[in-house]
Symmetry: C2
Subunit: 181 residues, 2 copies
């Protein structure tokens, strides 16, 4: 039978094990994300997929913050993060450090997410503001644009959902299925 597994039996990492665990070499930048609920949700996803670091840019809210905590559920104390006043400056610094930087957007000449092959190299992904998306000058500075193909009437997915989908697609081959007890 498919018996549900208790939280204890899941054998997740402790906070100190997390700090010492080998992270995926993936950094996520949030470019002026307005919703604290979305920021918290991205923290939670970043924890689940063991990413390297979150860079919270511009007006994006930062911990400690009660609203962020409502959706982060403690992930603000496990996931490494920093604040950067300026998204473009943060992107340029990552590029100077040899990181490949992609914006997640709807843009001309974008790469469909399912055509993106992650080679395990240092990667950064930029997600944008709920209304305006990633700033054009930031997109222009990136190595490329990744787009999630969509079929409906709306113009985009929620930013926390987009981050979940893109991080899953990029990292899924690095995630091991939980061992049965």
């Amino acid at each position: 039978m498919s018996e549900k597994i208790t939280n204890e039996a899941l054998n997740r990492l402790s906070a100190s094990e997390f700090k010492n665990a080998a992270k995926r070499q993936v950094t996520v930048l949030l470019d002026n994300v307005r919703s604290l609920n979305n920021v918290g949700s991205v923290f939670r996803t970043a924890d689940a997929f063991l990413i390297e670091k979150l860079i919270l840019c511009g007006v994006t809210g930062t911990p400690p913050n009660k609203e962020i905590e409502k959706t982060a559920l403690g992930a603000t104390s496990t996931v490494s993060w920093e604040h950067s006043e300026n998204t473009l400056a943060a992107v340029l610094a990552l590029k100077a450090d040899g990181v490949k930087v992609y914006a997640v957007e709807q843009a001309k000449h974008s790469l469909a997410l399912n055509a993106f092959n992650y080679d395990g190299q240092k990667l950064a992904l930029v997600f944008g503001n709920e209304v305006y998306g990633v700033e054009q000058e930031v997109i222009d500075a990136c190595h490329g644009v990744i787009e999630i193909p969509q079929a409906g009437t709306k113009h985009s997915l929620n930013i926390a959902v987009s981050a979940g989908i893109v991080l899953w697609e990029v990292l899924k081959n690095t995630l091991e299925h939980r061992k049965e007890e």
Copy 2:
């Protein structure tokens, strides 16, 4: 250059085109989901991936509702949905109709999401309450359990993020990248 695309130029479906479009044969059930924000976000994702129907079960909130609309952004008027008092009854009705039903959960003998091969047949996916997950009796009635492999300290992903990831993984081969103008 990777110029951003305006909402108009995205050429998304109109509401009436959406109603007439061939949907993916995928139904999503929400089993007693508490957060209206999560319900709205699932509507928005269901629109983006053109799924067949949402079944809102038990205490899961239903439209019209201002809190749902904040994250659905209009998708409540495009996506087909119905309410069911009882999740188990809804699952049994789908099975009687020849639909394969999978719970998305952490459970023994679950199938890792990346090992799940969608064959294009009628499929239903059950997502559970934020704290309690999918009820055990519902899991027991399903054909199987799909689990998203995770590596961090938290016990699960947000339900709206999980729905985005699973629907993406199941449907991505059916989604066409937007044609360049």
